[in-house]
């Protein structure tokens, strides 16, 4: 009998990896710590992280967030919304929820096991999760205000959203905070019972130095109508990954997103949709607008299981590059194992149309105003389906703020 072979360490651990290992050990997550010790953060050699090499991009990890005292006013507010604050990973509910909403707290992360470093980190570091039960149709927008405050901190916010059969609701999650180099390793799981109708909006407005990671899972029941919209305009480095499973027939999902990316930013949207049962439909539309030297990544995969006949899934990615140094990396994929389906994907990338710009200017509209009109026109199609007027206006405000944001180096 030979002695068990000692695991050969081939990974040179970075400062960020070492900090994460000690944070995992501090949370009692030995297995996750061992995994990080042996394989480290994913590099470009890991296919799912090919365009977002975390080992190279995540230089340091700030200390685990402490309870915060000074939270401040919300950066993004929707008039009339029911707002729940999660500050530095701690739930701070202050007002009684409106009828139909049950708010509670449960130990641990709501995310399922998955071979993914961001999921492992969220599972290991989540103390408790916010649970939002939407038991009947809810009128006001439910706003989960995730905040990281104070000095640079690593915060973990986790949420489970449960929508009861036949209930209709709009849930908004925003991520923002103080102007430090934070890191967030967040998780959201959305469970949609039969006939539920949900609009789920996720907005990242984290500080310009922040590193923002968010994993979202959708469990989609029969006859569900789901619309999601992701809007990114914050963070130096971000990755939002969405995993959806259509588990009941007759459901439809619209998955949409807008990446507004500016100098020095690297924002990644990764989508994985699994049509696991027959007769479900989805439409994916993601747009990136990239200015100065910055990078937008979109990876989208639609999987159609062997028995998922009559699936109709269409995925489109459109990129708009406003400067020479702008980069858009797009990887749409279809994996189809059923034979009676309609699926398609497309990806386009370009600059502002010179003829359109000339036409607007020839009517007296100044160059910058004309450009802004064309950028608005490009993104409008994503905001149009958001029917709540206050919410729609607040989201348009993010685009407007981005359009007038002072430019480095110009």
């Amino acid at each position: 009998m030979t002695a068990p072979k000692t695991a050969q360490r081939t990974v040179h651990l970075s400062e960020a990896e070492n900090t994460l290992i000690s944070q995992l050990l501090g949370a009692g997550a030995r297995q996750a710590a061992d995994e990080m010790t042996s394989v480290g953060l994913p590099t470009r050699r890991v296919e799912a992280y090919h365009y977002t090499d975390l080992k190279a991009l995540l230089r340091d990890v700030p200390a685990i967030a402490q309870e915060s005292e000074q939270v401040g006013v919300p950066q993004f507010r929707v008039p009339g919304a029911y707002r729940i604050l999660v500050a530095n990973g701690r739930i701070q509910q202050s007002t009684t929820p409106p009828n139909g909403i049950v708010v509670s707290e449960v130990a641990g992360s709501p995310l399922n096991e998955r071979d993914d470093v961001l999921v492992r980190l969220n599972q290991a570091l989540t103390g408790s999760s916010l649970v939002i039960g939407l038991q009947s149709s809810v009128d006001p927008v439910v706003h989960i205000d995730h905040r990281i405050t104070g000095p640079a901190s690593h915060a973990v916010s986790s949420v489970k959203i449960e929508v009861a059969p036949g209930a209709t609701a709009t849930v908004l999650e925003t991520f923002s905070g103080s102007d430090s180099a934070h890191m967030g390793t967040h998780g959201t799981r959305v469970e949609l019972a039969e006939g539920a109708r949900l609009t789920h909006i996720i907005v990242d407005l984290s500080s310009a130095q922040s590193r923002h990671f968010h994993t979202i899972e959708y469990a989609i029941g029969a006859n569900v109508q789901l619309r999601n919209l992701l809007v990114n305009s914050g963070s130096a480095l971000s990755r939002t990954q969405m995993f959806g499973v259509f588990a009941g027939e007759g459901a439809h999902g619209d998955f949409t997103g807008l990446n507004l990316v500016d100098d020095g930013q690297h924002n990644d949207i990764t989508l994985d949709m699994n049509h696991a049962v027959p007769n479900t439909t989805s439409q994916e539309l993601f747009k990136s607008v990239v200015r100065n030297s910055a990078k937008a990544v979109f990876q989208g995969r639609i999987v159609v299981s062997p028995k998922a006949q009559k699936t109709d899934a269409k995925m489109m990615m459109q990129g708009l590059m406003l400067s020479e140094g702008a980069q858009i990396l797009s990887k749409p994929e279809l994996e189809i194992f059923a034979d009676d389906v309609q699926c398609g994907h497309g990806s386009t990338c370009g600059e502002l149309d010179a003829q359109s710009l000339f036409y607007l200017m020839s009517r007296g509209i100044a160059r910058d105003d004309a450009k802004a009109m064309l950028i608005r026109a490009f993104v409008q199609e994503l905001l149009d389906p958001i029917e709540d007027e206050e919410l729609n206006e607040a989201l348009s405000g993010i685009v407007e703020e981005w359009l007038v944001r002072p430019q480095a180096g110009t």
Binding site: A354, Y359, S362, R363, I365, L374, R376, A377
Partner: protein
């Protein structure tokens, strides 16, 4: 003699290293309507784009004066707020930009340049409705995205509508008759004629004499190989129609 509205002096223009305009001289006095006729490819549209200030048209020599002021160093938007208007041969469709939003932005740009306050919405709506009615434009059309889904005739009428609302002092109409049936041609021409005034000049670019039956010019210039080869009164258009452009090619040689 008063300052001409438009004066083009020895204009040379290049597009991607190809010389297109080779010394255009043209003077349009205030209140006059001049026509430029020429066959396809003679450089007529290049002249209109160069006057309007398109980036892709490089002026290598000469000058363009609007009401006595050189405009060749100006961007397209400044030329427009200085009183220049180009009605496009092929108006651009811009999905996502509402026609009304665009009209308001364009009108307010003019007002801003004159140091006036932005238009109030009721005042703006009233102006648009009145101008649209003059041109038999259904206001439902204006609720659509800019030029999107407009027929050829609707696009041309929308151009004249913009011209009416922006009240320029120098209008350039580039092949405004192309794509129009007889009825639409009549409506558009009437719209243009309605805008004729002693303070406003027009340059009508066409290759058919037909339009000039409706918009009767004070002068006609024949364009060939990047320059004006002959000028005359309105009867020159009829002469061209009868003899064809080839009769004038020698003059250019």
């Amino acid at each position: 003699m008063s300052t001409p509205m438009l004066e083009i002096r020895n204009l040379h223009v290049r597009v991607e290293d190809k010389a297109i305009l080779k010394g255009v001289d043209l003077t349009v006095p205030k209140g006059e309507v001049h026509a430029i006729m020429g066959r396809n490819g003679s450089g007529k549209s290049t002249l209109s784009y160069a006057i309007a200030g398109h980036d892709g048209y490089e002026i290598t020599d000469g000058d363009i004066l609007l009401d006595g002021q050189s405009i060749i160093e100006m961007e397209a938007d400044e030329r427009a707020t200085s009183g220049l208007f180009l009605a496009f041969q092929y108006p651009i469709e811009i999905p996502g930009v509402a026609t009304m939003t665009f009209l308001k932005a364009a009108m307010n740009a003019q007002r801003k340049n004159r140091g006036e306050e932005e238009m109030k919405t009721p005042e703006f709506m009233k102006a648009v409705r009145a101008a649209a009615s003059d041109l038999s434009i259904d206001t439902a059309m204006l609720k659509r995205a800019l030029n999107v889904g407009f027929s050829g005739g609707e696009k041309k009428r929308a151009e004249v509508l913009q011209m009416a609302l922006l009240a320029p002092k120098m209008c350039i109409l580039d092949e405004t008759d192309s794509g129009l049936d007889i009825d639409a041609l009549k409506v558009v021409s009437e719209g243009v004629n309605h805008l004729r005034s002693p303070e406003r000049s027009m340059l009508v670019i066409t290759h058919y004499q037909r339009l000039l039956n409706h918009i009767v010019p004070d002068r006609v210039h024949v364009f060939s190989d990047g320059r004006i080869v002959k000028s005359g009164g309105k009867e020159l258009a009829l002469e061209l129609e009868a003899e064809g452009y080839s009769a004038f090619d020698e003059a250019a040689a």
